[in-house]
Subunit: 156 residues, 4 copies
């Protein structure tokens, strides 16, 4: 089939390899405003949660994302993907796990998992790909010190 | 690299094959509330626009999506993907193009494009994959008449 | 009771005076992503619809709001109020009615009504108050030409 | 002026009486997705934060809001008001303060304040009024045990 999206091929497979440590883990709860009439968290909310994940990831590396923007740089999203496996409901506590998959001066890839808090069941997983740009939105490599900080292992 | 997301491989390629007719086209404008501090439409909004696309697609096929839910069925999102190429700004008019990529009683795949209204420039493209479930969220094939209606060519 | 919000006093009254022409009317539909688990449009969405109303109002007056910002000015929201009377459901078409209540170089007040499309039933009404600021967020009167344009009657 | 919104009269007054203890206080941070192109948190987000406030308020009283809905009741929003005084920026930590203003079997009023975390500066204040309904959305008094639990003082 022409135009077939690659990732759709994994739909019925259970071949997903979970994130392994080190990753950062943040706890959140589903807001009422994040539910839809199916009674579950709406699909768009996951991309906001992924964003919380990478914000906290950068903070953990001592380079708050707002500081990156304050220095005139940004990591714009060029790809976003999410695979939903189980629903989350209003007020349900959940975990955002985030890990850096790739980091160069021009490009970053973050991976994410959403898991229930009580039994760590996999709710969703996904990734976002980012390109480094300047204030005008032009491709512009990140300064080396920022890249080094973000790349530093989480464990320390 | 283990765990590598397939789709990331297409990041720097210009190999994307645009949607070809028949597709449905809807016009919208970027809401102020959809912008972020970069001054452009935030990445999560595109998934709401995709949803508008498939709502209108079902309506066009004479089977409004609310009627599908009224009959006890739903097409839950199990995958969502978006590739962002150009930013959209507040108040900018844009087009949502949507086409049905695959439709069986158990599964549906929609493809989408976002394009500027003035020169039809490609802003983003993506897809969503859906599984048919019943009111309890259990996998449950769609009735044949619904499948047939949705599969009917757009042109008529 | 001290600290009592004034407007709460009108809760059980039917004393609301509907908007009278001239007003601007825009048609929209409830997005799936705007519903919550009650099965109705979530309360926060109304403030996005009000915003659509004033965007279209300014456009109608030949002074698109983006042009106001492009000239270094903004009308920031300092008060927002909504009274909800009837729910709206997914895919339901509705009308946003908007009128300018007050306009000076320093301040603007818009009033809004949300009505069902089919029978014009009152769904909600509200208002937003705005202060004119410059790019730094400092209070700064709007230029006279902008004020005059926005104040011009809708009818023409 | 006919149709004049009462609350607009307080626009230039500094007569606001702050919440006094007991109130519940929750800490949050501004999400990137909550900013708009002015570079500040968008006005609609405050109503989501108010909602977080009352969710946590009910939990604190040992009657999680989801349990109220599980018992077939709901407190639908019939009025929402917010007065914005200072902007909040991406990643800025802030406090949601919430107090119960009024609680009867048929009606509840919550008051809220948003304050900066670092110096407790008042960012916004507002209220929401709620009517008790059943699953069909019909007015229906809350059971006495729920009312009593919610009304119990926060301090204990």
């Amino acid at each position: 089939m022409k135009n077939s999206p690659n990732s759709a091929s994994c739909l019925n497979k259970e071949s997903y390899l979970p994130l392994t440590p080190p990753y950062l883990e943040i706890e959140e709860r589903v807001r009422y405003s994040e539910t839809d009439q199916m009674g579950v968290a709406h699909n768009k909310g996951y991309f906001e949660w992924f964003e919380i994940g990478r914000t906290e990831y950068c903070r953990k590396k001592q380079i708050p994302y707002k500081d990156i923007e304050a220095r005139g740089h940004a990591l714009v999203v060029v790809e976003a993907f999410c695979r939903y496996r189980k629903p989350l409901r209003y007020d349900q506590p959940f975990l955002i796990r985030v890990a850096l998959q790739e980091m160069t001066p021009k490009k970053a890839v973050f991976r994410y998992e959403i898991r229930t808090k009580d039994d760590r069941a996999l709710v969703a997983h996904g990734y976002t790909t980012h390109i480094a740009v300047n204030k005008k939105g032009e491709v512009c490599p990140l300064p080396e010190d920022l890249v080094e900080k973000i790349k530093r292992p989480l464990a320390d």
